[in-house]
């Protein structure tokens, strides 16, 4: 997947987790937490959805990489390059 495709995939996951959220104005550099009031359970869901959809394993120590869209895409790029 290209970075743009990864971004789309994350948007798709976020819209499944928070269906009422308007994601069109999401700022990539700003944290998800600030913009969407996601809590630790929601972050677990991002991880779990990635595992379910693409069999990507993210160790718990690295959950912090998923803080914002920009950092998530950067982190996932090597892991999703061959998908």
């Amino acid at each position: 997947m290209t970075p743009a495709e990864i971004r789309d995939e994350i948007i798709d996951i976020l819209s499944e987790i928070a269906p009422d959220e308007d994601l069109s104005g999401l700022q990539d550099e700003q944290s998800f937490r600030e913009q969407m009031e996601l809590d630790s359970m929601d972050f677990l869901d991002i991880v779990m959805e990635l595992r379910k959809r693409h069999r990507i394993q993210i160790p718990e120590e690295e959950y912090g990489e998923l803080a914002s869209m920009a950092s998530t895409v950067r982190y996932l790029e090597p892991k999703m390059a061959n998908i």
Partner: protein, 454 residues
């Protein structure tokens, strides 16, 4: 309820899940039954933690996100308004904290600033953070508020809807209950608790989950420090990688066959009778328009099992499922219903023989209602049918020791047990009530079965 919520989470993430229910019907304490041609809910007065559509914070929003439901799915209609009634003082409240604020300003003008201080201290409590859970709610309140009567009045609904401990309450439980009742609020689906259960079951099954009724677990098979499976009452064995149990902390330990290493813990004692009256008209037409009234007949609120009798009618909860703001297309509930909850003693109820039991139900129905009508209009001449359920009923629906509604006083917040792959969820993990049970199931599934796929 907690088991179903956990099951949905796990099935959603493709684990193979089997829910074993001892009873012939679903729902545990949140079940429903039919008698004399009428449907009755067992546990539901109100869904607590109600927040309006679009709210992003709080347990209701969290559970909807986690279980992938839409806000509309639960068809929650907000309460009309409730009250705390003590001799000579009544505090009204609804789903907007400003109502309680102004009521306190009216009845306790000297406490206005203290109450604001209380609110700001509670605003920051995070119910997923378990560090500050212990500690005495009474001690905390005594530092914040001055008037002992106001302290008792605030504690009354919070203890009634979620305190397993006699007399005092854990600080964390106090914060959770304060938010769920005063800062968020009450609501109810027009069709009652069965609507929520129906959604949970449908979702669980559509994700491939298996639900077996009449499948009581007789024992949990243990090898070393692990549970390897369960044996059902019919002798069937099922193996499992992990087990979540909503049966209660002591009840679950008892199911394990290596009982040698158990630390004895005390079972909960607080249980209720519920006296249900069917009226010949809507409750508001006999002058009772409130949703829930928590009453206590002296300045001190007594939250403990009855000392000498089957029940203690000094305090109670009066509730009408009719008094919610249902959408106009559903109209009013057909039957006028007033439900009344009274503290009871399981052991004394259990000792009665069949004849005494029937008589005691009638006698305590009368006593309880007579106590309640000191705080709401006397509806007795409009009663056309009644039903009473007792701690024995609650025990039958939940299998909890003593029919303890809120389980054991000492909660196991991280859900762990003496076995490395056996976990608790529901009442004895720590979150009580309908929303609490669902959140408990979700968080235990997340913590113990999803984070570490093993």
């Amino acid at each position: 309820m907690s088991g179903l919520a956990a099951g949905i989470r796990l099935a959603h993430y493709d684990q193979s899940v089997c829910i074993l229910e001892k009873h012939w019907t679903i729902g545990g304490l949140n079940s429903f039954y039919r008698t004399n041609g009428r449907n009755y809910d067992v546990g539901l007065h109100a869904v607590t933690n109600f927040t309006p559509r679009g709210t992003k914070k709080g347990p209701l929003a969290r559970l909807l996100r986690q279980l992938r439901f839409r806000w509309e799915d639960f068809e929650l209609s907000p309460q009309v308004g409730s009250a705390i009634a003590f001799p000579g003082v009544r505090l009204g409240f609804n789903n907007d904290i400003d109502c309680l604020r102004s009521e306190i300003a009216r009845a306790f003008p000297a406490e206005v600033d203290n109450f604001e201080r209380l609110l700001s201290q509670l605003a920051d409590y995070d119910d997923l953070d378990q560090e500050n859970f212990g500690g005495s709610a009474r001690a905390f309140l005594a530092q914040t508020l001055q008037d002992p009567l106001l302290i008792e009045m605030i504690l009354c609904p919070l203890m009634w809807y979620g305190n397993a401990r006699p007399d005092d309450m854990d600080y964390g439980q106090f914060c959770i209950m304060f938010r769920s009742i005063f800062l968020e609020g009450f609501a109810r689906p027009y069709k009652g608790v069965r609507l929520i259960l129906k959604h949970l079951i449908k979702r669980f099954r559509s994700l491939g989950g298996e639900l077996r009724l009449r499948s009581g677990v007789e024992s949990i098979r243990v090898e070393g420090t692990r549970a390897v499976g369960v044996v059902l009452e019919n002798g069937e064995e099922i193996t499992a990688k992990r087990i979540l149990s909503s049966a209660g902390v002591i009840e679950t330990q008892r199911l394990c066959d290596n009982l040698s290493q158990l630390e004895p813990q005390k079972a909960g004692q607080l249980t209720f009778i519920e006296s249900i009256s069917i009226l010949d008209k809507q409750p508001k037409d006999v002058g009772f328009g409130e949703t829930i009234v928590f009453y206590n007949d002296s300045p001190h609120f007594h939250w403990r099992p009855p000392d000498e009798q089957l029940c203690d009618t000094r305090t109670g909860v009066i509730c009408s499922p009719n008094n919610y703001l249902y959408p106009s297309h559903s109209g009013e509930l057909e039957d006028g219903v007033i439900r009344l909850t009274t503290i009871a003693d399981y052991q004394r109820w259990k000792q009665l023989d069949d004849k005494e039991y029937v008589r005691a139900k009638m006698w305590w129905y009368d006593r309880s209602v007579a106590s309640a009508v000191r705080f709401i209009p006397d509806f007795r001449s409009h009663v056309i049918d009644t039903d009473v359920f007792t701690p024995k009923t609650i025990r039958r629906f939940t299998s909890h020791d003593n029919g303890a509604v809120y389980g054991a006083p000492d909660k196991q917040l991280d859900g762990t047990t003496h076995l490395s792959n056996l976990f608790l969820c529901g009442t004895d993990q720590g979150f009580v009530g309908i929303v609490g049970a669902i959140v408990s199931g979700i968080s235990m599934a997340n913590m113990h079965c999803l984070r570490d796929p093993g």
